[in-house]
């Protein structure tokens, strides 16, 4: 048994002169729900298409259970794909769509029928066999697309922004459902999205990509709490990113103030960047604050207030808090040591 089901080693891809993927190394374990996350044009879909066999990498090797499969055409790979716009066949009904792959494998009719039924049950669409694709809603088409891929019992399922076309409420339901389906069938899901919340909700591991490079690989908590650089911090959630100096281990200077933190291993007086999540900042009385400033704006967001507070050095902090300060009021800001995340400065 191989440790990894899919491995990318030094995968590079160029379209003409334009390099869209620069040296991607990635190892994916069996039964893992892994998400490629990044803004559009970051190379995540290209990576997925290389794994699916729809694109050839310019350089590098792709392994499936230890075997190199660069040249294996898509129809021979034990990998199935759920396409961005579902790509269901409009000329045949739901049953024929799901049965498509099985019929090509020349499976016996009664087995096909059984398996299609089973799949419709898995995606909660029992009784839809005879329906036309065009008569289905987006969410239903989505489920049929998943059923059509899963019925072939692939070892790996690729999903290319499968929820992108659905409305918010349906998207949230489908996120949970997808995760359930993945746990039930117990295969590897490789999921592509630009929606950070989707990635954090569903994944075992998240791969944050930007401009054809992997920025960070980690579980959702690590990605959110310990982003390695400004790009990841900015892309995942909201955050205050401010320049700082690592005076020594466990001590950082931000906005001319010394703060205790939990990071070490930097050089003395190294220039770094600091991330503080808006919900990790407490608003206190001016004299108790580590930083002092004026409240610039207050917006009610339902669960909390979103406030902008300009400190005396001119940096504007975004704060999420259930305590409300008044606009124009002077307040103090209090930040716990473990709320301060130190990142290497890039560029």
């Amino acid at each position: 048994m191989q440790d990894y089901i899919i491995e990318l080693r030094g995968i590079t891809k160029s379209f003409g002169d334009k390099e869209v993927l620069g040296h991607i190394d990635l190892s994916i374990k069996p039964k893992e729900f892994i998400t490629l996350l990044g803004p559009s044009g970051c190379g995540k879909t290209t990576t997925l298409r290389i794994i699916g066999g729809f694109e050839q990498s310019t350089k590098g090797d792709l392994y499936f259970e230890g075997e190199r499969i660069n040249e294996v055409p898509p129809f021979k790979r034990q990998i199935n794909t759920v396409f961005q716009r579902y790509a269901l066949f409009p000329h045949i009904n739901v049953f024929e769509n799901i049965a498509f792959g099985l019929k090509i494998k020349k499976m016996e009719e009664f087995l096909i029928e059984e398996k299609v039924k089973e799949m419709l049950k898995l995606v909660n669409l029992v009784g839809f066999e005879k329906r036309k694709i065009n008569s289905l809603s987006g969410g239903q088409q989505q489920r049929i697309a998943i059923a059509r891929a899963l019925v072939n019992e692939p070892r790996v399922l690729l999903l290319d922004e499968p929820l992108g076309a659905l409305d918010l409420k349906l998207r949230k339901e489908m996120q949970i459902e997808l995760k359930k389906i993945q746990q039930r069938v117990g295969i590897t899901f490789i999921y592509v999205t630009h929606d950070q919340e989707e990635a954090l909700t569903m994944s075992d591991r998240v791969i944050v990509m930007s401009e054809g490079e992997i920025q960070q690989i980690g579980n959702p908590e690590d990605i959110y709490n310990e982003p390695v650089n400004r790009f990841v911090a900015d892309f995942i959630g909201e955050g205050n990113i401010v320049d700082g100096i690592m005076v020594k281990d466990f001590e950082v200077k931000i906005e001319e103030q010394l703060f205790t933190c939990v990071d070490k291993g930097f050089e003395e007086n190294e220039l770094i960047e600091v991330l503080v999540r808006p919900e990790d900042i407490d608003i206190v009385k001016e004299e108790e604050g580590m930083l002092k400033g004026n409240v610039r704006s207050v917006v009610f967001k339902g669960v909390h207030y979103e406030m902008e507070i300009k400190d005396d050095n001119g940096f504007v902090w975004m704060v999420h808090s259930t305590d409300m300060a008044k606009k124009g009021e002077r307040v103090g800001l209090f930040i716990e040591p473990d709320a301060i995340h130190i990142m290497k400065k890039v560029g």
Binding site: T81, F89, F100
Partner: protein
Amino acid sequence: MNKKWLSIPYALWSLIFSIIPIIIITIYSFCKRSPYGKIIYEFTLDNYKQFLEPIYLNVLWRSILLAAISTTACLVIGYPMAMIISKTSIKKRNVLIMLFVVPLWTNFLLRTYAWMVLLRDQGAINQFLIYLGIIKEPLQLLYNPGAVVMGMVYNFLPFMVLPIYSVLSKMDNSLVEAAQDLGATSGEVFRKVIFPLSMPGVVSGLIMVFMPAVSTFVISDLLGGGQTVLLGNLIQNQFLVARNWQFGSAISMIMMVLILIAIRISSKYQDEEGGGLW
């Protein structure tokens, strides 16, 4: 302003040049003929009965057969062409489509005459084959049904290629990828996905070629040399030579019904996707 007014020029046009003539032809086809060819407005079915004579049924059969052969040939040649065009890059695509469309700018008669020049005994093809020593005597290439089919295919091929091309180029490539992903080889992708989805274009093409092919008289006149009489020739003769407008009208009606049946049958394959030309 009411938009309905905009349709008036078209409505007038089709009233004067389509609907009224059809009504006149319908009336003529049921009229009696005086010995000198004058129309006598008395109801009769004689004109239609006359058509049931074997000699005319033969013409009907020959017209349908030649039109069907040409249409099939156009499909067999045109489909791969449409596929190749739809797969090339946009720059080359425009050049290829131009190659198809440019001949259409030349006069139809001129194009057909050009084939006479190529196919006749002293024509380029025969001369070339003799020069190569493959044949000694010139082949009889002109004035036979083969030449007529040739002329039809040449003239009507664009009407097959363009609607198929238009459907294929609009087809979502992810459908092809999805089929591959589900294990289909390129042959299976074509049979199970590409071809069925291109049916609207194919049907459009079939009608667009069959209609002019079954009714042509110029091609059969020039390339068939009067040896291959088709429905179109028959109608032309009845109106211009035999001066039997009543019989000519009856044949026209029969041909029209034939075409309407063809459209009716094919429209069943059309309503799904809409593609093609109508």
